[in-house]
Symmetry: C2
Subunit: 243 residues, 2 copies
Amino acid sequence: MTKASDWDLMAVPDSFLTGKGSEPDARQRLITAGLEIFGAYNLEGATTRQIALQAGVNQAAIAYYFGGKEGLYMAVIESVVSTIKANVLPAALSIKERDPANGFTPREALELAQGMIRAFLGTLVRFPMASSWSRIVMREQMQPTKGFDYIYENVIQHIHQAFARLLADATGSHSEDPQMILRAHSLVGQFIIFLAGRETVRRRMHWQCYTAEEARQIEAAVNANLEAIFLYETNTPGKGNDQ
Amino acid sequence: MTKASDWDLMAVPDSFLTGKGSEPDARQRLITAGLEIFGAYNLEGATTRQIALQAGVNQAAIAYYFGGKEGLYMAVIESVVSTIKANVLPAALSIKERDPANGFTPREALELAQGMIRAFLGTLVRFPMASSWSRIVMREQMQPTKGFDYIYENVIQHIHQAFARLLADATGSHSEDPQMILRAHSLVGQFIIFLAGRETVRRRMHWQCYTAEEARQIEAAVNANLEAIFLYETNTPGKGNDQ
DNA sequence: TTGATTCATTCAATTGATTGAATAACTTGG
DNA sequence: CCAAGTTATTCAATCAATTGAATGAATCAA
């Protein structure tokens, strides 16, 4: 109810969800409340009564609009994906579709990677509900539903491929080399950990949440590590590779 | 039941859990089954009937031995912590307790870090139930219960402090510097991502689970990034730090 | 016998979903 | 412009199913 207002600015165009295109109220309020409750608890832990109460609508509206609890959950995931898509995906797509013959230099790759991370952290701060997003996505990693298919194919996959391409170009390798894909995973872990290990970070840093200042500090730390990874082999004469 | 056998080799000395010290059967079977079911589902999603069935004991035994579902959950967490403690903590403790005046060289630090990650990955492969551990721990990060206090204080904290110390020594900084702590978080993310993002890794690599061979490849990839991070500033003349 | 453990059964509470009536919004025909 | 009809939406009440827990008898071990 109160929380809903600061979320409206997302303006999710949920018209694609069912084809209907004119219910701005109950339907959207349920998605908003669902995001919050599913994020705080989880698919099983959240109750439809709790969500309906939070949304200020009758419990039966969940079945009416979404067919049931699971339908609402999927609608929430689609809403999340559409927002992430708009905010962090364009950069990733332009990178992974770059002509393979025309590789990035290590420093170009580094700056593009840092730019993607900046966009990622910015989105994290700009949307108050981002913490709910990450909780839902991380739980899907532990216990995938069909919602994960949607997230993976529409977001995760592209981001990973972009980072693999950047890292491969920077280290003179190929982005489909399994070892390079694994290094890209490791690289992505450097900033995903601030979502996946949020409670650990919170305790170690004595933070309450991620504001712009915290995001700035995270960005600086990740950038330092990233610079080392992207430029190490260039700056090192006898580039000591794996094993 | 069938699954329980391949877990017995853990030999968790759960005598410290309640003081009783002579029920090897029903009690331990419940912890084993609880680990599996709580890992596959979660605290709310797992049902006591399911756990009792899996353990091959009567449902009432859960209340009898652990006071209830939550008590069993805590016992499972304590069991997990005790195993991790025995396998990856000694190295971390010796590092964080090293005399601050007697710092590690960058290469020493690198090798110690790589050693810890090797121990970590080895534990992951050696214990078939490790995938259940990680699921439980990761969910606790998203939705901390009092179980997280126990995990954090007994395991996570020490591991993070050890890595912060190593990274600080390697880059000539202080391990309590917030920026260094953040870089250590980022660094830890490089291998935790293989737990936190397990479904993503699984799809990208077309892996079923983590066997010794997969762990070896992960180790090689993480080591490559780690070497860059630990030795970059040493090998780079004008060490271009953040911004 | 005595205490510890296991068992089938039952309980109250909560769950997601459904129902059918009530109400709002909109359309149509005059 | 209106009135009747039609659809879309909201609502309180209820349902069957499942939940964690409790019960008291039965079983076992010492």
